[in-house]
Symmetry: C2
Subunit: 359 residues, 2 copies
């Protein structure tokens, strides 16, 4: 049995997305047991509208509050202590679930899961990782995507360890190759942190390929691309922006006049295949790595088809023992004597909070 | 008359690209006078193969050496003092040309043009800027694209000043809006440098819009997007990579079988229009900004059609008084009392070189 706690209230749409996706998922995976976290009445009502619900594997876990997409980390963490996000993470902490999934506010989800679950040994900061389809018909794991803006070389090494474990678990790469995102032929190759990180990576037992450039993400040069969260976030949003622009240009051109509409109708089987190949819903489900539990973040605007993929990633990460892999890899690298931590004082890694506040 | 010095030897292809493009350009713009810089015999030979050459406006400027695509900055700057790149930049320095263009090695072109021309008052470091087509059917000016990897807030302000002048000159925006590239909803919004830069920009007379995210480049939210060279380079290469992957997927799908080939043939007018709309050759010609001269960098793999656009950008920048605009804007912001410089000591901004070396 793989048990997943689902924040049913999160995301731009909430229950109308999470409940149908959960039912479909439970039907499809008989080894899955789902904890549906949120306002019990609302969940009951959403479930009541569906037929063939495998109720024996869908349990409602009540939560009285909901973190909105606009709530600050502060509000989410301190004022809403009975939120569906918090209860979902707590279920993992308490051993009632193996993984938790939310489509809610990224900052809040990261802060709550980190606060509740804590980080794995040797990990200073959790990171956000996703898979991006590449030209080889596989996918490239990229991290960090925005959890950490100012990173040290040791953080980049930690990302490489976590990304390697994720690619092993989700893409079944035995020995994933790791690239360090850097700039190319231009004047100065890389900043100081990146240069230092390359040295740590070269010394480690990871399968370090060397520096890669932005286009290597799509070439599929390596299995895992490591960068700081500022760069990763900007890259991810830029490519989303380009993809959106191109698809709107394609639509525009085929809708220009009756002749182009006809051409579009004739070409529609090809265009549909194309759409399917580049459908980013199939890549939904970023992993919040480095925590003592499997934590998945779905895109806020995911529909139930996309949300189902986030659930699948949670299931796969548990089944493939993501956390054990991360711990093993970290232990090996520490045995080599390579410095993995920036902070020696654990106090430095907890979220800042006011004196006397018990969050 | 607008006089442009062209490094005819640079780029992946060299003369077979630069000479036809130069001839075509001279024919099209009767106000242009071109200095063709390179090995005189080779240039003569390339010219001899063409008809209707406006020889009265094409002058050969001899250079005995060529900087290759693989030459280090060191070699380009110190060992090849009679390179076509160097002589082209020198022509601008000597007042024989108003602008210079090369498709050669970016690092070498930046180093040489900086060494020969020096930076404008108030500019610590030159930057590389390009135009990226956006959803509004216009283009977004993005800088820096890789000349500077570790930037201070003052550098980002300088980029904003230079980018504003470029958008005024090339896109004829009267008061270009400026966005600071940053990350979005995630845990921490922006690193320290970006936060500081936002304050400087807000205080300045520039039309500062605020923070923007990666997708805003394509939305056309602002006219100018400012970022450090590491981020800009990675973003630029990532979007090039995605565009290349998508176009190869489209080709693949239409070539799948006789039926899809037929569909492609029927849809070809639409596909051709599409190709034209996203043809990045029309955006060829990055500007090396902040120098005492108009310096343009063509893509190394540009064909003569693309190289022609780089020449047009050089002509337009001169005609629209890019340098005067940059100087004016810089003077205004200095008058406001906003710190624009990081270095007070001019020695810090010259390229590092060995003692006794006169480059």
């Amino acid at each position: 049995m793989i048990r997943i706690a689902i924040d049913c209230m999160g995301g731009d749409i909430g229950l109308p997305v999470t409940i149908p996706a959960s039912i479909e998922f439970a039907r499809r995976f008989p080894d899955a047991r789902l904890l549906l976290v949120g306002l019990p009445d609302a969940i009951e009502k959403a479930l009541a509208g569906s037929r063939d619900v495998p109720r024996d594997r869908l349990e409602i876990l009540p939560a009285s509050e909901v973190v909105t997409m606009d709530d600050s980390v502060e509000v989410a963490l301190r004022r809403k202590k009975d939120s569906s996000m918090r209860i979902a993470a707590q279920a993992v902490k308490d051993g009632r679930a193996d993984a938790c999934v939310s489509a809610g506010n990224t900052g809040a989800w990261m802060a709550i899961s980190r606060y509740v679950l804590k980080t794995l040994d040797g990990i200073d900061r959790p990171a956000i990782a996703t898979s991006i389809p590449n030209q080889k018909g596989k996918s490239t794991t990229v991290l960090d995507l925005g959890a950490n803006v100012d990173c040290s070389a040791e953080h980049l090494l930690q990302f490489a360890i976590m990304g390697t474990a994720l690619a092993q678990a989700l893409d079944h790469c035995e020995r994933p190759s790791v690239g360090l995102l850097n700039i190319g032929e231009e004047v100065i190759k890389g900043n100081e942190v990146v240069k230092e990180a390359a040295e740590l990576l070269r010394a480690s037992r990871l399968n370090f390929h060397g520096n890669v450039e932005g286009n290597d993400i799509f070439k599929g040069t390596v299995d895992v691309v490591v960068c700081d969260g500022f760069v990763g976030n900007v890259v991810l949003k830029s490519i989303e922006g380009l993809a959106r622009m191109l698809s709107s240009i394609i639509r525009e051109e085929f809708k220009r006049n009756p002749i182009t509409l006809l051409a579009g109708a004739i070409a529609s089987p090809v265009l549909n295949r194309l759409r399917k190949r580049v459908d980013n819903r199939r890549y939904n489900g970023a992993a919040l790595l480095g925590l003592r539990g499997v934590v998945i973040k779905s895109h806020g605007s995911a529909d139930s088809y996309a949300f189902g993929f986030a659930l699948q990633r949670a299931r796969e990460a548990v089944a493939s023992k993501l956390l054990e892999r991360t711990n093993q890899s970290m232990a090996q690298i520490r045995q080599q004597g390579i410095p993995t931590n920036t902070y020696t004082n654990d106090a430095a890694i907890t979220l800042p909070r006011a004196a006397g506040d018990s969050a």
